[in-house]
C-alpha cells in the first residue's frame, strides 16, 4: 500500500542523514564530558570544544526534529490524499455496508498511526541500528573486549524495554474502553437532555453515570496497581545491569586497561544504549496496535473502484425509463425478481408502498448506484450501462431521502456542484418556487447565512425546501424525489408541486411519497409490495381498484377531478 502513495523520499533521506550525523556528534559530546568529569579541564583542549559541540548538537537536533515533523506531515498528506480519492470513487454499496463514522477514523486517526509506523519503526530501525553500531564500535576503540561486553548486555536492555511496554499496553486498553463507554453514555445523554427531562428520569440517569464513573475509577486504580507491580521486575533487571557494569569496570579500569575518562564514557554509553533500545522497543510494541489501522486503510485501497468514465458519454438523455426483467438483492435473497416496469415520460409518477417494499432501492437502481444481478435498465431502449456513469448521473436530478446539506452558507449549498454561474435573480426565483424565499429574506445575512454542520441550523421543512431549490437550479428533465416533501407543511407542499408542474413538459418525474397530498399530485402511480409491482396506471384508475392507494387518496379526489 505504501508503494502506491507518493512518499517524500528526499525528506526521509535528509532526516536519516541528519540523524546519522547527530549520533556522531553525540558521541563526541559524551567523550568531552567524560574528560571533564575526570578532571581534565584544559580550556582550549576540552572546555571550548565541549561547548561548541553541545550548542551544535542542540541546533542540529532541532533541525533534525523539524525534518522528522515535515516527513510525517508529508506522509500523512500523501496517504490521506490517496485514501480520499479512492474513497470517493468507491461504489455506493461500500458505504452501505460500512458505517460512515467508522470510515472517518480511517482517514483521520488510522492514517496518522500509519505515518508514525513509517517514521518510528521503519526509518527508526535504520537509525537505531546505526546508533547501536556506533556506540559499540566506539567502545571497541577503548578495548575490543569491552565491545563484546556491551553486545552481551544488549538482551538485558531489551528485556527491560519489553517488560515496561507489554504491561502498559494491555491495561490501558481496558482503561480506555471503560472511559469510552462513560464518554459515549454522557454525550448521548447530554444531546438528548430534553428527552430525559420529559420522562423525568434524572434520578436513574444520575445513578447510571455514577455507576459508570465508579467503574472507571476501579479500572484506573487497577491499572495503577498493575503498572507499579511491574516496576520490581524492571528495577531488578536494571540493578543487575548496574552490578555487571561495575564488575566489568572494576576489571578493566581497576586493572589499568582503560583510563578514567574511558570508563566514564563507557558507563555513559551503556546508559544511553538502554534508553535508545527501550524507546525503539516501545515503538515496536505499538506496531502491533497500529496493524489494525493498516488493515482498515488497506481495505479501502483494495476495494475495486466504481468506474465512472467507461462507455459512451450521453449528452441528452431522452425516452422512456424502463426496468427490463431485473433481479437484484442486498444479501443472498433477491428483493426484486424478474421485475419489469416502465416510467412514462411527461407524467408525474408516484412510487407507493409500505416500508421495506423496495421503493428507494428501485430509485437507486435507476440512478445506477448498484450493479444488477440480472436484467437491464434502459432509457429510450438503450441500456444505461453503455453510458459512462458520470454522464448518465449528471443528467439526473435526484433528491435523496437524507436531504444532504453541507456546512457553509445557504448560497454555497444552493450552488454546490453546479457547473455554471447563477445570478441572484435566478437564485431568488428558485427559492420562491421552493417556498424558501420568505425565510431567506427574513435572515439578516440572507444567502450568506451559515447553516451549521450538515445544515443543523435548519428545520426539517427548511432543509427539504433548500434541496428542492437546489434541484430547480440544476434544471434537467429527470427528477427523482425520495420523500422530498415529507416534512413540509401543506401549503409549502402545494407550492413545490406547483413548481414541478411547470417543469413537466417532456420531463420524467418519479417520486416516492407516503402522504395523501403528495400522491394526489401524481398522474401515474406504481404500487410496490415486497419487491413486486401489484398495480400501476393512471392515478384515478389505480385508486379505484387498489385498496392501498384508495385509502391513501380517499374517494373525493375523483369527484373533484
Amino acid at each position: 500500500m505504501l508503494w502506491k502513495a507518493k512518499l517524500p523520499y528526499v525528506w526521509i533521506i535528509l532526516f536519516i542523514a541528519a540523524s546519522v550525523y547527530l549520533v556522531k556528534v553525540g558521541i563526541d559530546v559524551t567523550e568531552y564530558t567524560a574528560q571533564m568529569f575526570a578532571g581534565n579541564v584544559s580550556f582550549s583542549g576540552i572546555i571550548l570544544p565541549f561547548i561548541i559541540y553541545s550548542v551544535g548538537t542542540l541546533l542540529l537536533s532541532s533541525v533534525n526534529g523539524i525534518f522528522k515533523g515535515i516527513c510525517s506531515a508529508k506522509i500523512d498528506r500523501a496517504l490521506r490524499r490517496m485514501v480520499w480519492s479512492k474513497t470517493v470513487s468507491l461504489p455506493f454499496g461500500f458505504f452501505q455496508s460500512n458505517d460512515p463514522k467508522e470510515l472517518i477514523t480511517r482517514i483521520t486517526n488510522d492514517i496518522s498511526s500509519i505515518s508514525k509506523i513509517v517514521m518510528n519503526v521503519f526509518v527508526g530501525f535504520l537509525i537505531s541500528f546505526y546508533t547501536v553500531f556506533s556506540l559499540v564500535r566506539q567502545v571497541g576503540s577503548y578495548d575490543p573486549r569491552l565491545m563484546w561486553v556491551m553486545v552481551i548486555m544488549l538482551p538485558l536492555d531489551i528485556i527491560i524495554a519489553i517488560i515496561m511496554g507489554r504491561l502498559n499496553f494491555g491495561i490501558n486498553d481496558r482503561l480506555n474502553w471503560s472511559f469510552a463507554r462513560l464518554n459515549r453514555t454522557i454525550s448521548e445523554r447530554v444531546s438528548q437532555s430534553l428527552l430525559i427531562r420529559s420522562f423525568g428520569t434524572q434520578e436513574s440517569e444520575e445513578k447510571r453515570v455514577e455507576g459508570l464513573s465508579t467503574d472507571y475509577r476501579k479500572n484506573q486504580i487497577r491499572s495503577t496497581w498493575i503498572n507499579n507491580l511491574s516496576s520490581p521486575f524492571s528495577t531488578m533487571t536494571y540493578c543487575m545491569k548496574f552490578i555487571l557494569l561495575l564488575l566489568v569496570g572494576r576489571h578493566f579500569y581497576g586493572g589499568g586497561m582503560i583510563s578514567l575518562p574511558e570508563w566514564i564514557a563507557f558507563f555513559a554509553f551503556s546508559t544511553q544504549l538502554t534508553t535508545y533500545i527501550s524507546s525503539y522497543t516501545t515503538d515496536w510494541i505499538n506496531l502491533k496496535a497500529a496493524m489494525g489501522s493498516t488493515e482498515r486503510v488497506s481495505e479501502i485501497i483494495d476495494t475495486p473502484s466504481e468506474i465512472v468514465d467507461q462507455g459512451k458519454t450521453v449528452e441528452e438523455l431522452s425516452g422512456e425509463l424502463r426496468a427490463e426483467d431485473i433481479t437484484f438483492g442486498y444479501g443472498d435473497e433477491p428483493l426484486f425478481e424478474h421485475l419489469s416496469v416502465t416510467i412514462p415520460v411527461g407524467l408525474r409518477t408516484a412510487l407507493v408502498g409500505s416500508s421495506g417494499s423496495g421503493k428507494t432501492t428501485l430509485l437507486n437502481l435507476f440512478a445506477g448506484l448498484y450493479d444488477l444481478w440480472d436484467g437491464k435498465i434502459t432509457v429510450g431502449g438503450e441500456n444505461i450501462t453503455q453510458y459512462t456513469r458520470r454522464s448518465y448521473r449528471s443528467q439526473l436530478n435526484y433528491i435523496t431521502q437524507e436531504c444532504t446539506l453541507f456546512s457553509g452558507t445557504l448560497r454555497q449549498n444552493l450552488l454546490y456542484g453546479l457547473r455554471r454561474e447563477v445570478g441572484d435573480e435566478e437564485l431568488n426565483a428558485a427559492c420562491e418556487q421552493a417556498g424558501l424565499l420568505d425565510y431567506v429574506n427574513e435572515l439578516p445575512a440572507g444567502y450568506e447565512t451559515e447553516i451549521g454542520e450538515g445544515g443543523s441550523a435548519l428545520s426539517g421543512g427548511q432543509r427539504q425546501k433548500l434541496s428542492v431549490a437546489r434541484m430547480l437550479l440544476k434544471k434537467g428533465n429527470w427528477l427523482f424525489m425520495d420523500e422530498a416533501t415529507a416534512a413540509m407543511d401543506a401549503s409549502a407542499k402545494a407550492q413545490v408541486w406547483g413548481a414541478t408542474e411547470s417543469l413537466s413538459e417532456g420531463c420524467t418525474c418519479l417520486f416516492v411519497a407516503h402522504d395523501r397530498q403528495s400522491v394526489s399530485y401524481a398522474q401515474h402511480v406504481i404500487v410496490l409490495e415486497k419487491g413486486r409491482i401489484v398495480d400501476q396506471g393512471p392515478t384515478d384508475e389505480v385508486a379505484r381498484r387498489n385498496a392501498y392507494v384508495g385509502s391513501l387518496l380517499h374517494a373525493d379526489v375523483r369527484e373533484e377531478g
Binding site: 571533564m36 568529569f37 575526570a38 578532571g39 576540552i46 572546555i47 561547548i51 553541545s54 550548542v55 542542540l58 515533523g69 490524499r81 480520499w84 470517493v88 472517518i104 459515549r184 454525550s187 444531546s191 430534553l194 430525559i196 427531562r197 420529559s198 420522562f199 423525568g200 434524572q202 453515570v209 455514577e210 495503577t224 507499579n228 516496576s231 536494571y238 540493578c239 552490578i243 561495575l246 569496570g249 578514567l260 566514564i264 558507563f267 416500508s355 448521473r393 449528471s394 439526473l396 435526484y398 435523496t400 437524507e402 453541507f406 456542484g417 454542520e453 450538515g454 428545520s459 421543512g461 415529507a486 413540509m488 401543506a490 401549503s491 402545494a494 402522504d515 395523501r516 399530485y521 392501498y548
Partner: protein, 573 residues
C-alpha cells in the same frame, strides 16, 4: 487584574464544593519528600561511579537505594491514583447531577460538546491540579536539598547556578506560550478536517447521484492540505519548543563547564568536582521542571474550571419541590413566550384542552405549535400568562411528577444505546411485567417486527438507535411512551415518518387504547388524523386563529380549509 483574581477565586471555590480525600494527598507528600531524599542520595553514587570508585559499598548502596526508590515511587503513584481518581469521581458526579437539574433553557444556551467535556475531561483536570499542588511541596524540597549539597562543594559555582533559575523560568513560560499556540492551531485544523470528512462521508449517496466525485476530491484535498499546513507549523514550532526546553540544560552545562573548570584550574575545587555538580544539577533540574510543568497545568485547568464553576452557579430546577399534579383540563390564559427575549414565538395564547379529549393543533412550519407543547410540559416558563392543569398553576407543581404525567413522542424520537426492551422500559419505575412491554409494543405496531429479530427484545439498537430504520425507531419510541399510560399523550408529528399503512394502523390502535381520562394532543399535517380529533386548534404566527370540531372548522377556519384543500389535491381540482 480583577478578571485574573476572579479566575483564581473560582478555581479554589471549585474545590470547596465536594469533599477532598486529604489523607491520600498528605501521605503522597510525605512519601514524595522521602523519595526526593533518596534521589539526592542516589546522585552521590553516580558521582562515585564517575570518579572510578567501583567498590562493593558503591554497588550495594546503589542497588539498595534504587530498590527503595522504586518501592516508594510506586507507593506514591498508587496513592496519587487513589486520590485523583476519587476526586474525579466526586467532581464528575457532582457536575453530572448539576447538568441534569439545569432548566432546559440553560441547556439550550450551552453547546452540548462543552457540557460533555465538562463531565468527561474537565473534572480529570481538576483532580490533576490538586495533585500538582501537593507535589510542588516535595519537588521544591528536592531542589533545595540539591542546592544545599552543591553549596558544600563550591558556594561560588552554586550561586552561579542559582542565578540561572530565572532564565529557566522565563524559558518555560515561552515554551508554555508556544505550546498553547500550537495546540490551538492544531486542534482547529484537526476539527476542520474531521468535520469535513464526517459530513461528506455520510453524504456519499448524494455525491454519487449528483456525480460530484471530482468536486469532492478537490474539496477533500483542501481539507487535507489545511491539516498538512497546521502539521508543518506544529513541526517547526514544536521543535522550537523542544529547543527552548533543552536550552536551559545547555545553559547550566556551560556554566558548570566554564565556572567549574576555572575553579579547578585555580585549585579552588577538587579535580573531579565537575561530576558532582553535573549529577546534582540534573537532579535539581528534573524537579524544577516538575514544578514548572505543574504550574502550567494549573493555568490550563483554570479556564476549564472557570467554565465548570459558572455552570455550577446556574440555578437548578427544583425538580422535587411542589404539589403533586392532579390531571384535569389544561387551560392556557394569555400565554406569551420568547426564546431570546426579543422575538415573541407565542403572542398571547388562550386555549382550553378538556380532559379526556383528543385535541389536534394545526399550523404551518414555525407557527409555535412545538413551543407550546414544550411550555405545557414545563420545559420553559411563559414570559407572561398562566398555564393551569386541573385548576393548579403548573409552576406550583413538582416538575418531575408533572412531566411524568406526559407521554411525548416527537417526529424523530431518539433512542439510547441498549436493547429494545431497555428502551421501551426507559421511563418506567420499579418492576414491569413482560406482558405490559408486549402490550405497548403491540399498540405501536412493532411487536411482530421485534419477534422476527434473532435476539427479539434483547436486540441492541446502537448509538442513538442507529441500527434501526427511522420507522422502527419511531415505533419503539411510541411504545416507550405508551407503556407509561400517561395522563396526557403528546404526538408531535409522531407518525410523519411512518408509511401510510403503518401510520394509520398505529393511529387506530392509539385511539382504541385511549382511556376516557386520557388527554391526547396531536400535532399533525395529516388531515386524516386531524379530522378524527374532538377539537381542532389552528395557529398562525404564535396566535390561535380558530378552534372547534372538525365540522365547525370546515365551515369557517381559513387555515383548516387551506390545508384540507391542499391535501385533497388542489392541483387536480
Amino acid at each position: 487584574m480583577n478578571k485574573q483574581k476572579g479566575v483564581w477565586k473560582s478555581f479554589f471555590r471549585f474545590y470547596t464544593r465536594f469533599h477532598i480525600p486529604w489523607h491520600y494527598f498528605i501521605l503522597t507528600v510525605a512519601l514524595g519528600v522521602l523519595a526526593s531524599e533518596i534521589a539526592v542520595r542516589l546522585a552521590s553514587y553516580t558521582i562515585a561511579v564517575n570518579k572510578g570508585e567501583l567498590y562493593n559499598r558503591v554497588i550495594l548502596g546503589f542497588c539498595l537505594l534504587t530498590v527503595a526508590h522504586m518501592i516508594i515511587t510506586s507507593a506514591v503513584n498508587i496513592l496519587t491514583t487513589y486520590g485523583t481518581a476519587t476526586v474525579s469521581l466526586r467532581a464528575r458526579n457532582m457536575v453530572w447531577r448539576k447538568i441534569l437539574s439545569l432548566p432546559q433553557r440553560e441547556v439550550d444556551k450551552t453547546a452540548p460538546s462543552s457540557l460533555i467535556s465538562c463531565v468527561t475531561l474537565d473534572v480529570d483536570q481538576a483532580s490533576n491540579s490538586i495533585y500538582s499542588l501537593f507535589t510542588t511541596v516535595s519537588s521544591t524540597y528536592a531542589v533545595i536539598r540539591a542546592i544545599i549539597i552543591m553549596a558544600r562543594y563550591s558556594s561560588t559555582l552554586t550561586i552561579w547556578l542559582v542565578a540561572t533559575i530565572p532564565v529557566i523560568v522565563l524559558l518555560f513560560f515561552l515554551v508554555g506560550r508556544l505550546q498553547f499556540y500550537i495546540m490551538r492551531r492544531t486542534y482547529a485544523a484537526i476539527n476542520t478536517m474531521t468535520r469535513f470528512f464526517s459530513e461528506h462521508l455520510s453524504a456519499m449517496k448524494h455525491i454519487k447521484v449528483q456525480s460530484l466525485e471530482d468536486k469532492e476530491m478537490e474539496e477533500g484535498y483542501k481539507a487535507i492540505d489545511a491539516r498538512y499546513k497546521a502539521d508543518l507549523w506544529a513541526a517547526i514550532l514544536g521543535q522550537l519548543q523542544v529547543m527552548l526546553h533543552s536550552l536551559h540544560v545547555n545553559i547550566q552545562t556551560i556554566v558548570i563547564a566554564i565556572g567549574g573548570s576555572s575553579l579547578i584550574r585555580q585549585g579552588r575545587m577538587e579535580t573531579t568536582g565537575i561530576t558532582n555538580f553535573s549529577a546534582y544539577t540534573s537532579t535539581a533540574d528534573q524537579y524544577i521542571a516538575e514544578d514548572l510543568t505543574h504550574y502550567q497545568s494549573f493555568k490550563g485547568t483554570q479556564g476549564a474550571l472557570k467554565f465548570v464553576n459558572d455552570l455550577l452557579q446556574l440555578p437548578s430546577e427544583p425538580r422535587l419541590e411542589g404539589q403533586q399534579p392532579v390531571p384535569g383540563d389544561l387551560v392556557l390564559e394569555n400565554v406569551r413566550f420568547s426564546y431570546d427575549g426579543e422575538y415573541e414565538v407565542l403572542k398571547g395564547i388562550s386555549l382550553t384542552v378538556p380532559q379526556g379529549s383528543v385535541t389536534a393543533i394545526i399550523g404551518g412550519n414555525g407557527c409555535g405549535k412545538s413551543t407550546l407543547i414544550k411550555l405545557l410540559q414545563g420545559f420553559y416558563t411563559p414570559s407572561a400568562g398562566t398555564i393551569l392543569a386541573g385548576g393548579q398553576d403548573i409552576t406550583a407543581v413538582q416538575p418531575d411528577a408533572w412531566r411524568r404525567s406526559f407521554g411525548y413522542v416527537l417526529q424523530n424520537s431518539p433512542l439510547f444505546s441498549g436493547t429494545i426492551r431497555e428502551n421501551i422500559l426507559y421511563g418506567c419505575r420499579g418492576k414491569v411485567n413482560e406482558e405490559a412491554v408486549y402490550e405497548a409494543a403491540r399498540q405501536a405496531d412493532i411487536h411482530d417486527f421485534i419477534l422476527s429479530l434473532p435476539d427479539g427484545y434483547d436486540t441492541e439498537v446502537g448509538e442513538m438507535g442507529g441500527k434501526l430504520s427511522g420507522g422502527q425507531r419511531q415505533r419503539v419510541a411510541m411504545a416507550r411512551a405508551l407503556i407509561l399510560h400517561p395522563a396526557y399523550l403528546i404526538l408531535d408529528e409522531a407518525a410523519a415518518s411512518l408509511d401510510h399503512k403503518t401510520g394509520s394502523r398505529v393511529f387506530d390502535s392509539l385511539m382504541s387504547a385511549k382511556t376516557p381520562e386520557q388527554t391526547i394532543l396531536l400535532i399533525s399535517h395529516n388531515m386524516e388524523e386531524v379530522d378524527r380529533a374532538d377539537r381542532i386548534v389552528s395557529m398562525r404566527d404564535g396566535e390561535v386563529v380558530g378552534c372547534g370540531s372538525a365540522a365547525e372548522m370546515r365551515r369557517s377556519d381559513p387555515i383548516y380549509r387551506e390545508y384540507s384543500a391542499n391535501q385533497r389535491g388542489g392541483e387536480l381540482a
